[in-house]
Amino acid sequence: MELKDSEADAQFRKELRVWLADVVPSLPSPPDPRDRWASRRFDETWQRLQYDAGYAGIAWPKAHGGRGATPTEHLIFLEELARADAPDVGCGFVGQGHAGPTLIAEGSDEQRAEHLPGILDGTKVWCQGFSEPGAGSDLAGLRTRAVRDGDEYVVTGQKIWTSFAQVADYCELLVRTDPDAPKHKGITWLILPMSSPGIEVRELVTLQGEAEFAETYLDEVRVPVANRVGEENDGWRVAMVTLSFERGTAFVPEMLESLRLVEDLARLSERLRRGRGPAWEDAGIRRELGTVAAELDALWALTKRNVTRGESGTVPIVGGSSFKLYYADVRHRLGDLAMRVLDQAGLVLEDLPDLTVGRHVEGSLHAFAVSIAAGSSQVQRNILAERVLGLPKER
């Protein structure tokens, strides 16, 4: 059991640091996140820089245009990006984290050749059309219909919570192709070009006040059968492949970002006064800062354990759900702590003169996205109880 970098890993880290120290300060300042198109351009610029430096598709196989990094190198990459305060993946999230890896695992050669390059260089943006108004946690209950018509599917239905739908070029879409089959057996995974006629995207404003996601209405949208990934009615299995990437390392970057937030909160607690002294001198606040930092350190260690187990081929299911459940909880407590430290400075979603508080207040709201999206905390508990501890199934 060891945590130290091997010589090769240390070398990888060193080169990466040199590059980041050079490139991060040269980036333009990030746009207002409410401006989706400006955000998209910013994310594309950042992705292009990574692409040119050979870091795009860090964990993708070389044969598919990735860097073919080992899982350990992947973690080092994420760790160093956070350390350098580099931008996050932004609207490249679905393409790089979901669609790309799914196409590599399940797509045809034509589909890979058509789509992987645009994901890697940041020019193509993807969104995820899985959830529906009637199918959230119970995703397999989805009803968006696809009817075969020659070499096309005709798709009608509604998706919801589709992040980045407004700016996306493609959508990974789950549709029902066999309404008579048991619910897991009649689903198909399609690549939907967002420019197809019959799509209407209506923005939904989140409680953070930005239009991160949208409703996507589909009215007789024609999708070539050639856009199907996997077999017809085998889409549930393909979707589980997609989601396994989400449950792998998807939350690691923001977990590392949370450590930066605690550090910044510790700094702020020395400047913000609480009664007679700085908030830092309040033992309750100090202990909670220490507790949250210790828990984030522990989640980082758990990530390393999961990655080690992943390298030896065992699927880190315990690690995955334990991580997500615990991380969501820490994220909520971090938000609550921020509000205690900031006191009245926590009443604004933007920075105050001399006081960068906006990201803490945003963070306290973002905590809900963590405990709701990608398998809510209740669903994670069900998974742990039933699949890991072997307790009886609900139904």
């Binding site: 059991m1 060891e2 945590l3 130290k4 970098d5 091997s6 890993d9 350990t72 973690l75 605690v262 550090e263 510790a266 700094r267 020395e270 830092w280 033992a283 100090r286 202990r287 909670e288 800062l289 220490g290 507790t291 930092a293 210790a294 828990e295 350190d297 522990a298 989640l299 260690a301 758990l302 390393k304 354990r305 990655v307 080690t308 187990r309 030896s312 315990v318 690690g319 759900s321 334990s322 991580f323 459940l325 615990y326 209740q378 994670q380 508990r381 069900n382 998974i383 742990l384 109880a385 039933e386 890991v388 501890l389 072997g390 307790l391 009886p392 609900e394």
Partner: protein, 323 residues
């Protein structure tokens, strides 16, 4: 990086688990509390090599590191193994006969407030861990009163009027290192309790029936168990990482050791308490072992540090790293 148990480390844990199962059922811990430590069994524990794991081969040890000690203490904690196991492990190599089990060494960290020393009744020597030094005192020369109703009935407790003083054994860095090891091995035992109580509660939830179904099919119970599992998993990553960092004498070891106490203390206290709750009325009985895990967790959670102080240490380290 390879952050997982290797084959030898797994074997160490499973051999020790079998050993505890065969020789240290919880009944032994109960009896030890009432009647005194069985020195024969103590020597068997020493023969398993637990006290000498980190001693060099030349001193009769296994030549391993604090990582293996941590893994061993996780198992010993889960088994509620009685006696001053932390003290005797710390004393191996410092006090003649400790590693072979011929003498029993208790340990206490000097704190303000009443002086209550677990395991002193059965010990030949007492290690006293101060901020800046470690002292050794002969037990026979210490006057104290045995507490008639210790919270943890499997751990005899002696009340002293003051911290006794003795021969200074260690100073400076060596003393600091010993204190960190004491804290971390205690956290490892707490982790063992967090894991064991998760198993016990899960097993019970699969068999106990109410309303015509097993209680483990109720989502309220399932979710309690899932939380226990997650707490134990995350605590395990924390405790093991602290072991590796301590073995590497990493600059972040102090933060990691304190963090391990925060996580393991929280997990053990929560899981041991939830285990009582899940056992219902049975959980409230003296006869069932559930209360023993809770009481041992409470004892360990304030031995060689505590969760609040550890959280403060992490916060201080966090701030220090920023300057």
């Amino acid at each position: 990086m390879h952050f997982d148990l290797d084959a030898g480390q797994r074997e160490l844990q499973s051999a020790l688990t079998r050993f505890c199962h065969d020789l240290f059922p919880v009944a032994v811990a109960r009896e030890s509390g009432e009647k005194g430590l069985d020195r024969g069994l103590w020597r068997r524990l020493a023969d398993m090599g637990v006290f000498a794991l980190a001693l060099p081969d030349s001193d009769g040890g296994a030549g391993l590191t604090v990582v293996e000690q941590v893994l061993a203490f996780e198992v010993l904690g889960a088994g509620l193994v009685p006696g001053p196991i932390v003290g005797s492990t710390l004393a191996a190599g410092l006090v003649e006969g400790a590693s072979t089990g011929d003498v029993v060494v208790a340990a206490v960290t000097a704190t303000d407030g009443p002086v209550l020393v677990p395991g002193l009744r059965d010990a030949d020597w007492l290690l006293v861990l101060h901020d800046d030094r470690v002292e050794l005192v002969e037990a026979a020369g210490i006057h104290g009163d045995l507490v008639s109703r210790p919270l943890d009935p499997t751990s005899p407790l002696t009340r002293l009027d003051a911290i006794p003083s003795g021969e200074v054994l260690l100073l400076g860095a060596a003393s600091d290192a010993l204190c960190r090891t004491a804290s971390l091995l205690t956290s490892a035992a707490l982790l063992g309790i967090a894991r064991r109580t998760t198993e016990l509660a899960t097993d019970y939830a699969k068999t106990r029936e109410q309303y015509g179904r097993t209680i483990g099919s109720f989502q309220a119970i399932k979710h309690m168990l899932a939380d226990m599992l997650a707490l134990a998993e995350v605590a395990s990553a924390s405790v093991h990482a602290a072991g590796v960092m301590l073995a590497d004498t990493s600059a972040e070891a102090e933060r990691a050791v304190a963090g391990a106490r925060v996580l393991a203390g929280k997990a053990a206290l929560h899981n041991a308490a939830t285990n009582v709750q899940i056992h219902g009325g049975m959980g409230f009985t003296w006869e069932l072992d559930a209360h023993l895990y809770l009481k041992r967790a409470r004892l360990l959670s304030v031995s060689h540090g505590n969760v609040d102080a550890a959280a403060e240490t992490v916060a201080t380290q966090l701030r220090g790293a920023l300057q």
